[in-house]
């Protein structure tokens, strides 16, 4: 039905139009690409490395979704996030 259906109940990363980086379990989607993320956290990129900010259950409006990607959990667990230093994404201007 939807191209996002294979990602349901899997760990996904969502990039939003305002440049945020959200990670969580994809629990639901609809026609408008509204998305339910469970056990969701935001990864905030800064000079002190990547910080995790827990958010719980989030409904993200489809308008704001730019990218959805599946996360390889094994690979992701190996990452040492606080040691990764990168600039945050800029918001998409439209």
């Amino acid at each position: 039905m939807s191209l996002l259906e294979p990602y349901i109940k899997k760990n996904v990363l969502v990039l939003t139009y305002d440049g945020r980086n959200l990670v969580g379990v994809l629990r639901g989607i609809d026609q408008a690409v509204n998305i339910i993320l469970e056990s969701c956290h935001e990864r905030i990129y800064s000079e002190e490395g990547i910080q995790k900010f827990p958010l719980g259950v989030h409904i993200i409006r489809g308008d704001d979704v730019a990218v959805v990607g599946e996360i390889d959990k094994e690979l992701d667990d190996k990452l040492d996030l606080p040691s990764i230093v990168a600039d945050p994404l800029k918001p998409i201007v439209y």
């Binding site: 609809d30 719980g56 409904i59 993200i60």
Partner: protein, 164 residues
Amino acid sequence: MLPLSLLRTGQGHQIMVELKNGETYNGVLVNCDNWMNINLKNVVRTSKDSDKFWKVETCYIRGNTIKYISVPDEIIDLVVEEEQTFKPYIPKTYDNSSSSKDSSPRGRGRGDSSRGRGDSSRGRGESTEYRGRGGTRTRGRGDSSRGRGESSEYRGRGRGRGTQ
């Protein structure tokens, strides 16, 4: 699970809504619709930079201004139950309609209509054949069909015969 059914399940619970302009609204979800328009009560509105706060009794937020909504964790478990009660309804209605209501009457209907067509076409066939024979002047039927043909085509002659 549909995002809007999760939202609907969250009615009566405390939620946080962030708008596209960065403002956040914390309040109790009173109502929502299929466009994600929502009604909140006992709201605290926070400015984009989290430096100003307003207390609002009730407010309505148009769905398309929303960036995201944060709902309490426990609500996602309530939705699952709702979906399980919904799911059986869909196949049941389809089964009933296809097995008893749709298929069998269709069959009957086709049978009747084809029979009907058969009769009517036969009828036409006979009338045209006999008209032809009527032209060759066979007995009985031929006369009657000739009568019809003449009456429709040559009314003048029909009257003429009446006088004869």
